[in-house]
C-alpha cells in the first residue's frame, strides 16, 4: 500500500478537494475553475492526474462521462467500468475503471452537480493496490472555498478567483481577485533563514514594490499582531496621476507576519484590514486540521 491515513495531506485547488499521501506533490497546474488539469508526482514518477471541464447546461451527463472514459481508456476497457460515486451529494454518474493487469492506469470519471464540472481522476498504478477507490475517491469533494497547495492553505474572500500563482520552492504565492479587490497570499519558508537575509520590514517593502507603478507608501511599517502572530503592516495608496483608474483600489494594506510555530513568513495584501484578518487566521488551518 502506498500510504496510511495518518500520512494524508489536504489538496484544495479550484474548488476541488482531496486528501492525498504527503509524498505526492503537484508538478503541473494549468487552467482555471472552468477547465484545467493537475498532475501530482512523488520523487520518482507521476502518481495522479486530474482534469476538470465545465459542461454546457444541456449536455447529457451520462454520455459525457462515458465519452470521457472511452477517450481515456478505450472502448473495450470502458465496458468494464463500474458505477462508483464518492460520498457527498454533488457527485453524479461516477464510473471507475480498475486496471486488471498493472502497471497501468485506474480511472474515475464523474460529474459534479455543484459546479457543473466533469472531473477525471487518473491514478498511475504500479502494482495492484486500491489507492484510488479506497483512499483517494472517498476524500474527493467539490465546491470547496479553501485552497491548499504544498504547505500553504488559506480561505480567501468569498467569490475569489485565482488570478496568478507562483509556487517556487520556499516561496508560495496565490493572487486572487474578488469583486475588483486584489488579494495576495504569500508564504515564505523557512522563516528563520529568510529573516537572516533581510528583516521583515524589507520583505513587506519588497512585496509592495511590485505595485510601485500605481501605488506609493504613505507610512512607515507599523507593528501589528493578528491571531497571535506578530509582524508589521504598511498602507500604500494609489498615485494621484492614476485617479481615473477606478478599477484600482484607493488603498492597499500589506501585512508581513512571522508564524513561529510553523517557521513561515506570511505576507498578505488586501484593500482593507477587515478583509485581512479572517484570511490570516485561515492560513495553515487546513494543514493543522
Amino acid at each position: 500500500m502506498v500510504s496510511t491515513l495518518s500520512q494524508l495531506r489536504p489538496l484544495r485547488w479550484q474548488g476541488l478537494s482531496l486528501d492525498l499521501p504527503g509524498t505526492w506533490d503537484p508538478v503541473k497546474l494549468e487552467g482555471d475553475a472552468s477547465q484545467g488539469l493537475m498532475l501530482l508526482a512523488d520523487l520518482t514518477r507521476p502518481k495522479l492526474g486530474m482534469r476538470w471541464k465545465t459542461l454546457k447546461s444541456k449536455t447529457d451527463v451520462a454520455k459525457s462521462v462515458e465519452s470521457a472514459m472511452v477517450d481515456e481508456v478505450g472502448r473495450l476497457a470502458a465496458n468494464e467500468t463500474v458505477d462508483t460515486t464518492p460520498p457527498g451529494d454533488e457527485w453524479q454518474a461516477g464510473k471507475l475503471y480498475i486496471e486488471p493487469d498493472p502497471p497501468g492506469r485506474d480511472v474515475w470519471v464523474g460529474y459534479s452537480r455543484a459546479t457543473k464540472r466533469l472531473v477525471q481522476v487518473v491514478y498511475h498504478v504500479q502494482g495492484r493496490d486500491r489507492v484510488l477507490p479506497d483512499q483517494v475517491l472517498p476524500t474527493l469533494a467539490d465546491e470547496s472555498a479553501d485552497w491548499a497547495i504544498f504547505d500553504l492553505s488559506c480561505t480567501p474572500l468569498p467569490g475569489s478567483v485565482l488570478e496568478k500563482h507562483r509556487l517556487n520552492v520556499g516561496d508560495l504565492a496565490l493572487e486572487f481577485h474578488a469583486d475588483r479587490k486584489p488579494l495576495v497570499i504569500r508564504q515564505i519558508a523557512v522563516a528563520s533563514v529568510a529573516l537572516t537575509r533581510q528583516p521583515i520590514e524589507r520583505w513587506l517593502a519588497a512585496q509592495q514594490l511590485t505595485r510601485k507603478k500605481f501605488y506609493r507608501p504613505i507610512e512607515q511599517p507599523q507593528p501589528i499582531e493578528i491571531g497571535g502572530l506578530k509582524g508589521v503592516s504598511r498602507r500604500i495608496v494609489r498615485r494621484r496621476r492614476h485617479f481615473l483608474m477606478r478599477s484600482l483600489q484607493k488603498t492597499l494594506i500589506g501585512v508581513a507576519l512571522l508564524d513561529e510555530s510553523r517557521d513561515k513568513l506570511l505576507i498578505v495584501e488586501a484593500p482593507e484590514m477587515q478583509d485581512l484578518e479572517p484570511i490570516i487566521r485561515s492560513i495553515g488551518r487546513t494543514h493543522k486540521d
Binding site: 506533490d25 512523488d42 520523487l43 520518482t44 514518477r45 504547505d151 520552492v169 519558508a189
Partner: protein, 129 residues
Amino acid sequence: MLFGTKKPRLTPEEALAAKPLRLVEAEMETDSKGGKLRVPLKARKFAGWMFNVPNGAAKTFEFDAIGVFVWESIDGKTSVQQLIRKLSKKYGLSEREAAVSTNQFLQMLGRKSLIGWNVDQRKSTTDEH
C-alpha cells in the same frame, strides 16, 4: 561519441540513491547566519607553471543555514534521498520542496567541484540505446 565520453544518464531512482561525497578538505566556519567554507587553492600543472599561486590562497564560499546543514550531511554514505528526508524533517518542508532545493544545491556544489558522486548504477541507460 567523437569527443569526450558520454555521461551516463541516471534514472530518478538511481539519482536519489546516489551518494554525494566531498572532494575538498576544508573547514566550515559557522555563524548565526550560516557559514563560510574556505577552500585552499591548488595550482594545476600548467597554471602552476604559468602563474604563481601565493601560499595560503583560498576561495571562500558562503552558505546559509540550510546549505551548512546539507554540507555537513554530505559524507559519502548518505544518499540524496536521505538528505532530502533529513532536510524536510528538520525544516518542515514538503518532500518535493526539499528535493528541488537539495538537487539544485548539490548540482551547484558539483559545478564548483566541491562534491563528487558515488553512483551505484546497476545498468547504464546509455547501453540500452
